[in-house]
């Protein structure tokens, strides 16, 4: 494990409030969080506690209502949409609960997609995509459409898409939520492997079994960070 002194992610006093009609919902309050390079962090908590909101702020899909966010030493809480997109594309890899593969594109094209937004040359894209698909073990299905794959295989493709761009951090939102237990276990094993290879990972899960895979577990309750704990050493 290669944990460095300078945090990759730093949140300070982050708040997120949603306004609907006359109701103010505090999704996140006073969040202080640091994630270092090479760490594997799991965000846990009951439904509606703000896990996904926190993850979307970390992934620059949403902006905090208040507070500051530094990614890789850069303040990113008040970026323009296009700057957010650029950083998201280069620094962050996403794995979603329901895979979010694009049905009209082949496995290869799905993995290649974020690289095309980077303006990367075709040969380099090919190399990266092939490497990522091989890493997750679905290279042999590269010309298939997602609908031809099992759920587990689809999530592997989603992981390949997330890592192909070699992001600084991999964000996974309930990556096993739509999988049966054996496929779920396999995907978590894949994330563990990536982590062993040096990837920084942050997952959201409400399943304590999978939360235990992480170096550190952050517990959220009603939008507040109530506890940080190291995971079990026997993981």
């Amino acid at each position: 494990m290669n944990v460095q002194a300078e945090p990759l992610i730093r949140l300070k006093d982050v708040k997120k409030v949603f306004y609907t009609d006359e109701v103010e919902t505090h999704a996140l309050s006073d969040i202080h969080l640091e994630i270092r390079n090479g760490e594997y962090v799991s965000i846990a908590g009951p439904s509606g506690c703000g896990k996904s909101t926190l993850l979307s702020i970390l992934g620059l899909l949403d902006a905090p209502t208040d507070g500051s966010y530094w990614l890789n030493g850069q303040p990113v809480s008040e970026l323009s949409l296009s700057e957010s997109a650029r950083i998201r594309n280069r620094e962050v890899g996403f794995v979603f609960q329901s895979f979010n593969l694009i049905g009209d594109l082949t496995v290869y094209e799905n993995v290649e997609l974020p690289l095309t937004y980077r303006g990367m040359k075709s040969a380099e894209r090919k190399e990266r995509v092939t490497e990522a698909l091989e890493k997750v073990g679905v290279a042999h299905r590269k010309n298939h459409l997602p609908s031809h794959l099992s759920g587990g295989q689809q999530q592997r493709v989603a992981v390949a898409r997330a890592v192909a761009g070699r992001p600084n951090i991999l964000l996974a939102d309930e990556p096993t939520g739509n999988l049966d237990s054996s496929n779920g276990e396999a995907v978590m094993e894949l994330l563990r492997e990536l982590h062993r290879d040096g990837a920084t990972i942050c997952t959201v899960t409400h399943d304590p079994r999978f939360a235990q895979h992480a170096d550190r577990i952050i517990n959220l309750f009603d939008g507040r960070l109530i506890e940080e704990s190291a995971s079990r050493p026997d993981r």
């Binding site: 899909l61 594309n89 280069r90």
Partner: protein
């Protein structure tokens, strides 16, 4: 019946519950159906509705076919032979239209009338509302003085005086006895003709020969004779006359057309072209609504699946869906009928003169039936494809509890894209057609007619033969012009027998002194106009060589003539035409009257702006008078300001002499291009509607696809797609359809624009610039139609990818 009522009830409820969908669909259909109904009403009035004569299908128009002229006027002697020799007509009648000066009453008035052979009314089976028609053989008396009035003339000029029958009225300075008044709705040959006189032809005059072509002929087929039989026999008669009289009839024959077809011969192809165009607009509207139905079908998949699950057969579902689309189309038809009523009024107002019976265009039974049949057919056409498409739901999949919204099948998407491609292709064909017409028109109106059109006032006078003969006409004209020339606002005052661009004037054969006589069919020929000395100065035709006419060129001085440069170059290509002598007529002893060419002027476009100047010659009124005079005044101020002064000048010389058709030269030129302008405006209007509908179609489909792909767009954004990437994604999808449609449209245009070649002027049917510009315009509009939903797509929050978890 109960099931139908149920379907109707549900259909109405569905339409009411989706007001935006209903409104947009009904509007699109109303535009398509309304345009078709408006044009159909004109076609019905002009081409389809029988002429208002007894058994009008048996009436034919008989023309003298002349070299390069299918519809030539008829020589009296030929007409007489046709009448005597044929076995196919119950009756054959001749007539000649003309202007007549009516002086009974307060103000003299120039009106249009017809000199007719006495059997015309018998031929038409037309009875007067009071009095009688002409007696048989009246035209042969040579000095007949009976007149029959139209109902309008009788009512407006004579206050519907019942005692007018038997009384004399003054026409062309001669008393005519009113023998009859025709019924209110009767007209012949057109509504502008208000009186009928017996055709009086002296059998010993040149007018009774074969060399003077001035009559028109009409016939009534015998009941058992077909048009083809009549054509065959008249062709044979024409051939015989050609052999018998080669000097006058060489190259001449006979053409027979149904009167109905003949009366609309000039406008038929234009109207059918416009009907074709509005058919395209309707198809585009149908494609639009079909697309809207397909989009709505997605939202209704669960409902259809539920119906299927409850036991509804596919036929039952298709019928329910078709009931809804027909309901929609009938609503569109009803609104279309209202739009058609406005459209008909516009068409009648915009139409150029000379379209027979266009004012009869109305929302009658045929038009209403046409509208609703069109609407019904439209409802089935645009409703069937979506109905068949969604009547096969995957019940199991769609009724799953978690299925939040319907998904669209690939087939449905393909169909939707196909409709857009068709819309774009059809629109492009129409736009290119309109583009060619507009360019044609712009080129036409920028053509120099060869004379000045600014600040020129014109007015027509027809001097009656009974009052003015020979030199008297020149004296009258001289006195009028002298009065006008004293007006300080007048720069020059002249006159010409036939004004350029105001209808055809006569062409005359001529001989050239010193050259052998020409053989039949190869005569020297030029348009002949009688002019006053200052005509060229007044209208701005420059003198290129020689001298102008002067007042010294009188009846007692040597005969002179001015020719134009076209004539000079054609007949004297390598020498000056000045001082050469030509003859256009003979004296009483049959010897040619030689006229010396004293000047050469620039050629002007006389017949139309489209046609190059033809050979023209101008004689002074004093030496070759004609009864027709058009005054031409070049003014310092606005030309129309002098209208009353011109009337006063004419009336000061002869208080019984009316002047008509007072208008500026700009109006004359504008009226000469009116038919072309009419076609252009209509085509542009409908092409614009097509473009509008197509852009809505593209917008609708792309907008729908964006909605359908919201989640995908969210995912892409989450993966780092920038605003530009999303714009590119959506726009390229829409533009791919537009480009395919444009490709098909371009190919179709190459094939179809040939059909409008006769309506174009100086523009190729495949004009590359128009093809390029119009395609650019269409793609530009398509780009805008794609951009709006694409811009919406860029606003998709990437959180959507997470929220759908």
């Amino acid at each position: 019946m109960r099931v139908l009522a149920q379907d109707l009830k549900f259909g109405i409820r569905t339409l009411v519950e989706n007001p935006v969908f209903t409104l947009v669909s009904v509007l699109a259909l109303a535009i398509g159906v309304g345009a078709n109904s408006a044009i159909f009403s004109v076609i019905d009035a002009v081409l389809l509705r029988p002429l208002p004569y007894y058994e009008s299908h048996r009436l034919v128009k008989i023309w003298e076919r002349q070299p390069q002229l299918a519809r030539g006027s008829v020589a009296f002697a030929n007409f007489r032979d046709w009448k005597d020799q044929n076995h196919v007509f119950e009756e054959v009648a001749a007539y000649q239209t003309g202007d007549y000066n009516l002086t009974s009453g307060d103000e003299p008035e120039q009106i249009q009338g017809v000199a007719v052979s006495s059997n015309l009314f018998t031929l038409l089976h037309a009875q007067p509302s009071s009095g009688n028609t002409f007696l048989p053989g009246q035209e042969n008396q040579g000095s007949s003085s009976d007149v029959i009035l139209s109902h309008d003339l009788w009512a407006n000029r004579f206050g519907s005086d019942p005692s007018l029958i038997g009384k004399a009225i003054n026409i062309d300075n001669k008393n005519y006895v009113v023998v009859g008044v025709m019924p209110d709705k009767f007209y012949f040959p057109g509504k502008q003709f208000q009186l009928w006189l017996p055709l009086s032809i002296n059998p010993n005059s040149p007018m009774a020969g074969r060399g003077m072509h001035y009559l028109q002929a009409i016939g009534r087929l015998k009941p058992e004779v077909s048009l083809e039989q009549a054509k065959a026999e008249m062709d044979a008669i024409g051939g015989r006359l050609e052999q018998q009289y080669p000097r006058d009839n060489s190259g001449h024959g006979v053409n027979v057309f149904s009167l109905q077809e003949d009366s609309a011969a000039g406008i038929r192809s234009s109207l059918l072209m416009i009907q074709f165009v509005v058919g395209f607009v309707l198809l585009i509207a149908c494609a639009n609504v079909a697309n809207l139905l397909l989009a709505r079908a997605t939202a209704r998949q669960k409902e259809i699946a539920l119906r299927s699950a409850l036991g509804a057969s596919r036929t039952r579902i298709v019928r329910q869906l078709l009931t809804e689309s027909i309901l929609l189309s009938l609503l569109g038809g009803t609104l279309g009928l209202a739009l058609a009523a406005i459209g008909i009024r516009l068409l009648v107002t915009l139409s150029p003169g000379g379209i027979p019976r266009i004012e009869e265009s109305a929302l009658n039974g045929s038009v209403v039936a046409f509208t609703f049949l069109t609407a019904l057919a439209t409802g089935i056409v645009f409703g069937l494809a979506p109905a068949l498409q969604i009547s096969k739901p995957d019940i199991n999949e769609l009724l799953k509890a978690g299925s939040a919204r319907g998904s669209t099948s690939a087939a449905s998407n393909r169909l939707r894209k196909l409709f857009v491609v068709i819309e774009v292709a059809l629109s492009l064909v129409l736009l290119i057609g309109a583009g060619l017409m507009i360019k044609s028109f712009v080129k036409l109106v920028s053509v120099s007619p060869g004379f000045n059109v600014e600040n020129i006032l014109t007015g027509s006078i027809t001097l009656p033969n009974s009052k003015y003969k020979g030199s008297q006409r020149a004296v009258f004209l001289q006195q009028v012009l002298e009065r006008l020339q004293t007006d300080p606002r007048v720069i020059a005052a002249g006159a010409v027998s036939h004004l350029p661009l105001a209808g055809n004037g006569p062409s005359f054969n001529f001989d050239i002194q010193g050259r052998p006589a020409t053989i039949p069919g190869q005569e020297f020929k030029a348009q002949l106009r009688a002019t006053s000395p200052d005509y060229f100065r007044a209208i701005g035709i420059p003198l290129l060589e020689g001298r102008q006419l002067t007042v010294q060129d009188s009846s007692s001085s040597p005969n002179v003539v001015i020719i134009n440069d076209v004539m000079a170059q054609r007949y004297w290509p390598n020498e000056s035409a000045l001082d050469k002598e030509i003859s256009i007529d003979k004296d009483d002893k049959g010897s040619p009257i030689w006229r010396r060419i004293i000047g050469v002027v620039r050629g002007v476009r006389h017949t139309s702006l489209e046609l190059q100047p033809e050979a023209q010659m101008y004689t002074p009124y004093t030496q070759f008078s004609m009864p027709y005079i058009t005054l031409v005044l070049h003014t310092k101020t606005a030309a129309l300001d002098l209208t009353a002064d011109v009337r006063h000048a004419v009336s000061a010389v002869d208080r019984d002499q009316p002047i008509s058709n007072t208008r500026t030269m700009e109006q004359v030129v504008s009226e000469s291009t009116a038919p072309r302008r009419f076609n252009m405006v209509l085509l542009s209007l409908f092409a614009g509607s097509a473009l509008f509908l197509a852009s809505i179609g593209i917008y609708g489909v792309i907008s729908y696809l964006v909605t359908q792909r919201t989640r995908e767009i969210g995912i892409r954004s989450a993966l780092g797609a920038r605003r530009f990437d999303i714009l590119k994604l959506v726009i390229s999808q829409g533009m791919a359809l537009a480009l395919i449609g444009a490709g098909i449209g371009l190919a179709a245009s190459f094939a179809l624009t040939r059909t409008v070649s006769s309506l174009l002027f100086s523009v190729s049917t495949t004009d590359p610039l128009i093809f390029l510009e119009v395609t650019g315009l269409l793609l530009g509009v398509a780009l805008l139609a794609c951009y709006l939903p694409a811009r919406r797509a860029t606003k998709v929050n990437p959180m959507i990818a997470l929220r759908c978890e």
